[in-house]
Symmetry: C2
Subunit: 198 residues, 2 copies
């Protein structure tokens, strides 16, 4: 950080956060100056210490401040169903939906051979071991409906089939409140394909 321009130095770093441009970074810096040293200290410490305070849950792999996360240590949830997600924030999104009472497994990656993550590099063993040891009856594959997400789902289906568990994939279709006119053709095709009896 330059002594001459501490605001400019802070703005440069703030602008590297996702969704923050130079202008909003500058607004943030001025707001930090306006709110005073106490808030700046608290926020700065929380940010600086975040990576060392957060670890991966020893069971499911999501981010947590403890050895095992809240969900894995919750005795109320069933071990029967395991939901496989790619990223911790996707787990958060599913939890906000509020209806799932099973457990999760976070891959932290997707199959992406073009970026050097092929089947050999894929962290498959921890998932296989977990499905086998936990007497899971169903695995829901909740990777995103993108090219990499679908490829990962197919790959996982093949790897898990020998274990004899029920396999399912989250539904893909027109989002709630979505206007059919503005939904892309692939999504519409999926919505038709995945139609359910009324």
């Amino acid at each position: 950080m330059s002594d001459d321009d501490p605001i400019g130095a802070a703005v440069k770093l703030l602008a590297r956060l996702p969704g923050v441009g130079e202008k909003s970074a500058r607004r943030m810096a001025y707001s930090l100056l306006a709110s005073g040293p106490q808030f700046a200290k608290a926020l700065g410490d929380a940010v600086a210490s975040l990576p060392e305070r957060v670890r991966k849950c020893s069971v499911c792999g999501t981010y947590t401040g403890r050895e095992t996360c809240n969900i894995c240590s919750d005795p109320q949830r069933t071990d029967d169903i395991l939901c496989v997600v790619a990223r911790p924030w996707e787990l958060d999104a599913l939890e906000r939906a509020g209806s799932f009472r099973g457990r999760y497994h976070v891959l932290h990656t997707l199959l992406d051979p073009l970026s050097g993550l092929g089947p050999e590099q894929f962290p498959l063993d921890p998932l296989l071991a977990r499905v086998e040891s936990a007497h899971t009856s169903e695995v829901i594959v909740a990777t995103p409906p993108t090219v990499e997400g679908e490829a990962t789902a197919l790959f996982l289906a093949e790897a898990l089939r020998p274990l004899g568990v029920k396999l399912s994939r989250i539904a893909s279709g027109v989002p709630h409140g979505g206007d059919l006119e503005f939904v892309d053709p692939i999504t519409l095709g999926r919505a038709l394909e995945g139609r359910r009896g009324l």
Copy 2:
């Protein structure tokens, strides 16, 4: 910060920044975890130390890391014209316009009797002293064209008139690229009033 939920604690603080909601705060926290401890440390330190590293320029009052800011210590700029602004970021915005080569004076406030800032509390003396000592020939009042900004401009005009300097106010009108149809009536009225010969 809670040991149980360092991400939640960081999200809460990040969401207090201007323009940041809970969702983008969460995205920021996850991106900090993804970019690793080095960036988090640099950003956290920059944020925590910002208020103690920034002071008000001893001449114009804008935020700076030094005793006097870059503009006040620039020998290339003229002392002839003084531009009065309410906030440091308004000074920045005017500097980005790039055409002004005079000096600035930052009030850090506007006249706002309803919020307890009446003429008695207004920091007028430093401005008067500066105009008198610097042999300023023109004062441009660049407070914003809002109720408080206009009230401040009128108040400053009255206070400065006895000093015999030329007084001017930044123009108010239709913004560059603005569509007349979508500009509010007060602005249109000002644009007509402030019309210039072609």
